[in-house]
Symmetry: C2
Subunit: 668 residues, 2 copies
């Protein structure tokens, strides 16, 4: 067992972490030494005295979660993980920030064991942590029985001033306080410095009082450089507080021990050889030696690792007994842990014929959610205060709310995120990052996904399977006008790597899009859905939708022109093609609900849809940017929208059969 | 003079506003009646007892500024502006939300007199207001002399819970408190309802305490439905508080007077005929009559209008005397008011030859800023805590800081925005919206412009001439890795209407881009600048840059292939073309710093650059999305980046001469 008091060995360990971080940054000739040096004490205390983890099995379900929200301090995370026994060798530390190393510039999930979420863009980590804490609260309430605390972990965050200035962190803090996430503990590295200088030049709010106003339990540690015991006691108190998330403000010195400690100079560049030597000396290390871990420090960390292994063994014994007593729950845990979907859910997806009544695709989406959310309990989600417009609240859903609130329960799966699009997305990422097969979704008007772009990017980069259910996807929303009508948003999204942008045209395509989105376990999806009604189309099917694009209707003779549309404009293509075909101009209609999936098909297939010699006119109620990839010419919107009833807005932008027909004729 | 006490006539006026708003929404069969009905009392008090404006001259420099941050309450703004005598007729009210009307769904600057900023996307308005208040503080300090208070206006905001949940509002509040913007006054419509229901389901933070923690003066009005005097006294106290921005929490009932008052049902849809009648009756109006303004109410508002006209006259007399005493200052005011740039500044822009030393384009940008910021005092700007990296702090710049802070002065023009990209952009929009010829800029790493997307969209939509100086514009930033390397960002931005996306290749192009950006008075610009050095190119010039794209180098014989690049990849094109030309493959190099400007050139010019029969290979260290518009094939990055030294990352993605040459050969 590790001693719960602190002594010289702890001081040595802290300075070991500092010196490793210094050496990493210096060798890479790039990186951030200041934050690791300042945060070494709190990290050492956290990981040696409180953190529950088994470094030899970083997938242990019951592990505490750690998020380094100030991801630029990555050298700290890597060096302490190396000491703890994660699969990070001394050579990996030496390869910091090098090509294909396990130790990239900022922590990236999937690159390094023990890294739960990708951080670096400020404010994201602390927001992901709210998602991780939500996942824990939800699973504990759903699966724990009696004394079997299968899910029972804390979520720890280290963050700096930068994270606490970003808008997203306030949204995160507000929601975490609202949800009373008592097992979320944030260690705030208050070093008084940001890149431009003293935080006093830009950030003078009373952070502690702000967090209190947001429903947090707040403590302060006066000397975070040396008072390890105070840090430990504060963490202990935070753990004991079960109804509020905790912020511990820990006053530190950036670059502690270096010549320029306490200034922005030590933030974002190597210390340089002279200051490396100076720092080593001041920290009691030999300035001539690099990448040094004193034996007794490694021994201490080995003990921590051992106690983590023991803890997992103990938990596994409990889990085995639980599995005997609750075999169905255990089977469900196993299923979800392995990312397996239940069988048979796809068969329940609705299918339509052209005789079925049309509907808005948001309404058709609602019908699908009513099915899949009841089939797949790993789907959790909600809306940024537009539930009634997004139609995302499925039949029988229970609100996720603090049990004590009387408004719902932690085993609820529907979220009222409030008007907080950015943290909604980051929370989705965080829930997915719990690595328990969750498929989180969030919803708002398509136009406002741009409030969440910072987090959408991380969904794609970190391969989080999350669903953005975005309604009111065009000028078709009408009177709300240009502030609410997306125009550039659809091409914006299509430019992301690893993101499916889907714009289904009818019921079959909505079902097909959900099928693909739910089965794509490493790619996020944006579903763009109409406010207004669309007809059920002749020629659509779930199976064709799964190809991303397909021939919806074919003229009797070889086509002379192709009309390609997405979503609500596919029926406009159909209507226009009818006119053209009647006039003797053989016209094919292609529906292209998802470019990214279409592009994954064989060249042969793609050329069968768009043969090289036939001109193509694209029709989409969005910016035409990007369509030149498939189309010879485009009908679209290369300006912002206007406020008027939808039909008039469509007419204003020439998205009516007469104009489409005319443009198509010009291509002949 | 208007009576400073409140009586029946005021109650009647309040209900007139409510009924007008009800009728507008009902006639449009679309819109939001609840907020106007709840906010009518505070609006009436504000505009009849406090607001300084001349409705017959909405351009009066000294007017108070009003921002309806909950823009969905637009019917409120239009109806009260109609009463006040702005150029909004009763017919305009009847045309609410109709095609080409002056009364669009959400307030749009340029569409309606008296609308200072476009609102609707929540949180933007309150953030723009911080910019408006900054502009006032800056101009007052810069131009006022002795008793001549030429600039001396308040900025008033009405906002609801929605605005106060968005991340951007916290950033705005934090910075407004920091800057001690005593003349910013926010009326918070606390009606306890959001779209999903009671705010208690999602928003339980203590808003008043939160604002106090952020350095605000906070008051509360218990009964905002009826207690007009209390509202007025609170506004009076807020005006008297000069060192802190003010929040007045005004408790109201959404849809006050209607059947479903106090519920989310009255938020976003017409009341319906039955409830319109019910509401009219409960508000003391004839349910059979529509769009009614009682004579005595109009009389009261006419008096307000008259007193506004008188106030402007008085101010004009003062301004005339000031002009005599301070002719130079007055001349400068006139120049800036008329959006005129000083003459001769362009000639000072640096020009380069290929023999000059290369440099990072961020460094070349710094050199330009050192010139233009000293030439043009209307340029104000700063960085979201990356001043030293963005290189935006020009020589001799003074920090904009509260005079009392000792850190700078209100007449300073450099902003340390903190790590707050979103509000930085919204503040830029707000400063520009002061309509005094300001050219605000903001800066961060290009990748993090996506934190600000919500406000960037409004820069473009509202035609705000603002400059986004975005550095570290590609994988060229190297070790910081994929979280910091923009890939999709450049095409993202290119999809916006009315936004120049510029990626200069060398010194001449940097100068040319700034020239174009500064002269484009209704279009925002994003400057994408390198972290790494680039050579000065043979064949570049400021004048060619002004065409958006041009032939940089031409082979001796008719070109067989064209290499087109932007920014740092233009020199890669040059290098590759050299190899190709040496191998006998005549290769043209085109530099395309700004697609939007290039697309504005004549078809003839564009075809002279890209003749139809010559294949084009694009080379850009970004997603290739969109390049099919010009290029036959593309070298780019259709994945996220990697953490490694820049040269290795370039190699990883095939952005090296060998690969470019190989791809170019395939096009022959």
């Amino acid at each position: 067992m590790v001693n719960q008091t602190f002594g010289d060995i702890d001081k040595l360990a802290v300075n070991t972490i500092r010196c490793l971080s210094i050496d990493m940054v210096q060798k890479a000739n790039s990186g951030h030494p200041g934050a690791p040096m300042g945060c070494a004490p709190m990290s050492h205390v956290l990981f040696t005295r409180h953190f529950k983890a088994n470094p030899t099995d970083s997938n242990w379900l019951a592990r505490d979660r750690f998020v380094l929200s100030n991801g630029h301090a990555s050298a700290l995370q890597y060096s302490i993980y190396h000491l703890l026994g994660y699969n990070i060798s001394m050579q990996d530390l030496k390869d910091f920030r090098q090509y294909k190393s396990k130790t990239p510039g900022h922590p990236e999930v999937g690159m390094t064991e023990g890294v739960e979420v990708t951080t670096g863009p400020l404010g994201q980590g602390i927001s992901n942590a709210v998602g991780l804490a939500i996942a824990e609260a939800h699973l504990a309430k759903t699966f724990n029985r009696g004394d079997y605390k299968i899910f029972d972990n804390y979520t720890y965050v280290i963050c700096g001033d930068g994270c606490l200035e970003e808008g997203i962190n306030y949204e995160a803090a507000s929601l975490a306080g609202h949800y009373k996430l008592g097992k979320l503990i944030v260690l705030y590295d208050a070093n008084g410095i940001q890149i431009d200088g003293d935080v006093e030049i830009a950030f003078t709010e009373n952070v502690c009082k702000r967090f209190e106003a947001q429903g947090w339990h707040v403590q302060e540690v006066a000397d975070g450089n040396n008072d390890l015991e105070a840090i430990s006691k504060a963490i202990e108190a935070a753990k004991a507080e079960t109804t509020k998330p905790s912020l511990i403000r820990i006053n530190t010195t950036i670059g502690y021990g270096s010549q320029n400690q306490g200034t922005e100079k030590v933030h974002g560049a190597p210390l340089g050889n002279a200051d490396v030597a100076f720092s080593k000396k001041s920290l009691g290390f030999n300035p001539e030696e690099f990448f040094v871990v004193p034996e007794e420090v490694q021994k201490l960390y080995n003990d921590i690792c051992q106690s983590g292994m023991d803890a997992q063994k103990e938990w596994t014994r409990m889990y085995e007994k639980y599995s005997e007593e609750y075999p169905e729950l255990a089977a469900e845990i196993e299923r979800r842990k392995q990312n397996k979907l239940k069988e048979g859910w796809e068969e329940k997806l609705p299918r339509f014929t052209a005789n079925d009544a049309g509907a808005a695709t948001r309404k058709l989406s609602h019908d699908v959610l009513n099915i899949v959310c009841n089939e797949l309990p790993e789907i959790v989600g909600g809306s940024a205060d537009l539930s009634g417009s997004n139609l995302t609240q499925w039949k029988g859903s229970v609100d996720f709310q603090a049990d004590a609130s009387g408004l719902g329960s932690y085993d609820g799966r529907y979220f009222h995120f409030g008007v907080r699009e950015h943290v909604m997305a980051a929370i989705m990422n965080g829930i997915h990052a719990y690595r328990f097969g969750f498929i989180p979704f969030g919803s708002t008007f398509l136009n406002f996904i741009n409030y969440a772009s910072g987090a959408v990017r991380l969904s794609a980069l970190s391969k989080h399977q999350v669903l953005y259910i975005m309604t009111h996807d065009s000028i078709g929303l009408g009177e709300d006008g240009p502030t609410h009508q997306p125009v550039e948003i659809i091409p914006n999204l299509r430019a992301y790597p690893n993101l499916f942008v889907m714009r289904p045209a009818d019921g079959n395509e909505v079902s097909g899009c959900y099928m693909k989105a739910i089965k794509s376990r490493t790619t996020p999806t944006v579903l763009c859905l109409t406010r207004q009604g669309v007809p059920q189309l002749e020629g659509s099917s779930i199976e064709k939708t799964l190809k991303g694009g397909y021939i919806l209707s074919e003229p009797e003779t070889t086509p002379k022109v192709i009309l390609v549309g997405t979503g609500s404009e596919v029926s406009l293509c159909v209507e226009s093609a009818k006119i053209l075909n009647n006039e003797g101009i053989a016209t094919r209609v292609v529906s292209l609900p998802c470019w990214e999936i279409f592009d994954e098909q064989s060249e042969e297939y793609r050329e069968s849809v768009f043969p090289k010699n036939i001109p193509v006119l694209s029709v989409e109620a969005a910016s035409t940017f990007g369509w030149s990839k498939y189309a010879t010419a485009s009908c679209g919107i290369d300006d912002f929208g206007v406020s008027a009833p939808a039909s008039q807005v469509y007419k204003h932008f020439g998205l009516v059969p007469e104009v489409v027909v005319e443009k198509a004729k010009k291509l002949l």
